[in-house]
């Protein structure tokens, strides 16, 4: 058969495509379960990283030091998942871990569903919020843990898709950055002010953290992400605050 004839080319390409598609699809089928599980653990680990200090697994043991099984176990036993909408109501039938923040971000603000993880440790409740925004090159996201007063930040973890290693990527790689968010407050006299990431160093010890030199755009992105991200949770936070006030009054 003439190798340059149209028929030969067509048959060759057809056979090759089928073989390649079949082999890739079967490899994917075989690895899918483990790969999905890995992704699941990766995401859960990031949520737990926000409450690094309260994992109760020993001094200095953070979410990154836990084994995969420990992550799943903590999530199973101590984390309660809720999904809420931007009006502050709980949404039934949606698991927080199944919410794709990248998709939610594209929706209209009023239609978004937000994940909320309640983490219980030694009688204290922590509320872990997920936020997502834009850095310099691509998306950035993070998890913010609030203490039970719904004001003080207990911890934070950040991640990114493609920030410059050594500069913007420091929001994830340099633990000092997320460490700085601990004990900051997001309300000033009952008014939401978020936490400011200030270039050149924090000036207010309660409401500001240091920026990253050489990564102004990424740091500004984190600042904006926190402001707009936590804002969406405000109706819900106000609601829990109100109900806890009520129960206090009744007592």
């Amino acid at each position: 058969m003439d190798k340059n004839s149209t028929n030969y080319v067509l048959i060759f390409v057809l056979i090759m495509t089928v073989l390649v598609a079949f082999s890739l699809a079967s490899i994917r089928q075989v690895t899918k379960a483990t790969a999905d599980q890995n992704e699941d653990i990766f995401n859960k680990r990031a949520v737990l990283a926000a409450v690094n200090d309260y994992l109760g697994m020993g001094e200095g043991v953070g979410a990154n030091d836990l084994t995969d099984d420990q992550v799943l176990e903590i999530f199973q036993n101590k984390v309660q998942q809720t999904a809420i909408n931007t009006q502050g109501q709980e949404v039934d039938g949606v698991m927080a871990e199944d919410i794709d923040m990248a998709k939610e971000k594209k929706k209209d603000v009023n239609e978004r569903v937000l994940p909320l993880f309640k983490y219980a440790y030694e009688g204290k409740d922590f509320y872990i919020l997920s936020v997502r925004g834009s850095g310099l090159w691509d998306e950035i996201w993070g998890n913010i843990a609030l203490e039970s007063d719904l004001n003080t930040i207990a911890g934070a973890s950040f991640d990114h898709k493609g920030e410059t290693p050594g500069l913007g990527a420091e929001i994830k790689d340099n633990p000092t950055f997320s460490e700085n968010f601990k004990n900051k407050e997001i309300f000033r006299d009952g008014e939401f002010v978020s936490v400011k990431v200030r270039k050149g160093g924090a000036q207010d010890p309660t409401y500001e953290v240091d920026g990253i030199s050489g990564a102004t755009v990424t740091a500004d992105g984190v600042d904006k992400m926190l402001r707009s991200g936590i804002e969406l949770y405000l109706p819900y936070l106000e609601k829990i605050k109100g109900s806890s006030m009520e129960s206090m009054l009744q007592q």
């Binding site: 483990t34 890995n38 898709k161 633990p175 050489g214």
Partner: protein, 243 residues
């Protein structure tokens, strides 16, 4: 004619002079980056840290080796008009395979490298070897040639990565289990790393060092590769005036 050639082939050792040359040539005389100036794009993009450079190098060695092998096996069957597309499909298949393997075995590294792994498809070294060598040579030699070129590429990548990471971040192998903080203000602080340097006392000698942010930017890799080409040509005079 073909039969005579086959008899000769059998007599040759599996890893003879020719194969050794195929491995060694890309390391120096015919390095894909410093001599052929191919694959520069990814060499600038991934080398700001050593660990991603190492993973990237391993992935590229795998892809160049096996794409050369498969292309060479198919070389007499591939129709000429669509040979580029066929090569591309082979490369893309292998890269997708690498991606799935990373997802399966080490998800955090996959997350760290996801964009770069996909970029192997566009690496000119891979396709360059397929066009220049694998289409005209036997499978085993093509495979060796692919591996050799992958190693030649990886060696430069890791060398650039070492320079950039040490001077840009003060660390070595950041992000991997053996992360070290070598120089700079944080050297000696244990909470920032698993510090081997601080314990041995090296860290405290270089505490004065301030990270050079230029090293982190892709432009720095350009300078470093330029200097490498300069050094290589100053001792390997064969390369001078080959334009």
């Amino acid at each position: 004619m073909a039969e005579v050639k086959n008899v000769e082939e059998v007599k040759e050792p599996l890893f003879g002079k020719a194969e050794r040359k195929l491995i060694m040539d890309p390391l120096n005389d015919n390095n894909p980056i410093t001599v052929q100036v191919l694959g520069i794009c990814s060499a600038l993009a991934v080398t700001s840290l050593v660990y991603p450079s190492v993973v990237m190098s391993i992935a590229v060695v795998f892809v160049t080796g096996f794409s050369s092998l498969f292309t060479s096996l198919l070389r007499n069957a591939i129709p000429k008009p669509v040979r580029m597309i066929v090569q591309l499909v082979i490369i893309a298949t292998l890269v997708t395979f690498v991606e799935m393997a990373l997802k399966y075995f080490n998800y955090p590294v996959y997350k760290q490298l996801s964009v770069y792994i996909g970029l192997i498809i566009t690496n000119c070294i891979v396709m360059g070897r397929l066009e220049a060598f694998a289409m005209a040579n036997k499978p085993w030699r093509s495979f060796v040639d692919g591996i050799g070129n992958g190693i030649g590429y990886g060696a430069i990548l890791i060398a650039v990565g070492v320079v950039r990471e040490i001077f840009g971040k003060g660390t070595l192998f950041a992000g991997s289990p053996i992360e070290m903080k070598l120089i700079g203000a944080n050297s000696g602080k244990l909470e920032y790393m698993i510090n081997t340097a601080a314990e041995s006392g090296i860290g405290s000698w270089f505490g004065w060092y301030t990270n050079n942010n230029l090293m982190v930017l892709p432009a720095a890799a350009m300078f470093i590769i330029g200097v490498m080409i300069w050094i290589q040509r100053s001792y390997n005079t064969k390369l001078v005036d080959v334009s």
